[in-house]
Symmetry: C2
DNA sequence: CCGGTATGCGGGCATATACCCGTATCCATG
DNA sequence: CATGGATACGGGTATATGCCCGCATACCGG
């Protein structure tokens, strides 16, 4: 079978997924001293930047499915880094808010994140990310 | 809070993960008529290209954790696209092999995959992927 | 041949991700 | 104000992903 079928060309999506896995491992390792994963760190950062947000808005901000965001909040709430309070103005909604412990976790993680970020950006072609980000805009 | 703290810079890892999610959705949608996800398609393709392989080798080939590959094979085995036979030469190992149905699934998916691939590669800066792939090499 | 180390796998645990459905609530319109 | 459509969520289901641990088997020295 195979020898040289056209199916043997590399798949862009798989290459990208692989790169994302590798990158995730790098950032997760860097953030390990702060006991945060890059996904969790990014959620906390959104809340730090924008203030308390209902889950749906938070999900939009992260370009994640709403239910995914809901579940990603679970470990953060369990560890007391995020608080989920009912919205007095809309009893359907739950407002996610950074706790003091959450702010402290960001502060503890920041230097490690910055190190990883510098390390990676130095090794990355300048336009590479922009090109991918643009693609993510027009699915 | 915040206003302009240094935490407000974009995270390369998150951008990449986001791009990967978006790309995955595009390929998954393209492959839906063939009832395959891009991750599954890629596993089948490796088997088509290299022939039967023990799970560990397959995982290495895909740059995946061994246990992850083992689990990713489950749906494929359940659907009869992949067969998992004991290795006569090493009773610890299980050899994953493409079935005829698996080969047919690849054939059915190929045109859709090619369409997505062409669509994406046309919209992607040439060096972008190479840069990321190189990064994945040296974690 | 026997014991110690190395390797292949499965299973448990935790997170990440998306889709669908049902429920509670909200809101605009008649 | 009543009602129908829209919206916010939770939970179920399925896949994807990685770590660790334990078991079975393999392999290598002595």
């Amino acid at each position: 079978m195979s020898s040289d079928s056209p199916a043997d060309q590399p798949c862009t999506c798989i290459a990208l997924r692989r790169a994302a896995r590798s990158m995730t491992a790098i950032y997760d390792a860097a953030l390990r001293p702060a006991a945060l994963r890059i996904t969790q760190f990014s959620i906390l950062r959104i809340l730090a930047r924008l203030g308390p947000l209902p889950v749906t808005r938070l999900a939009e901000e992260a370009a994640l499915d709403r239910s995914t965001m809901g579940r990603n909040l679970d470990p953060l709430e369990r560890r007391g880094l995020v608080r989920l309070d009912p919205d007095p103005a809309d009893r359907r909604a739950r407002i996610a808010a950074l706790t003091e412990a959450g702010a402290a976790a960001i502060a503890a993680a920041l230097p490690h994140w910055r190190a990883a970020q510098a390390e990676i950006d130095a090794r990355l072609a300048p336009g590479a990310l922009a090109s991918l980000a643009a693609l993510a805009q027009h699915p």
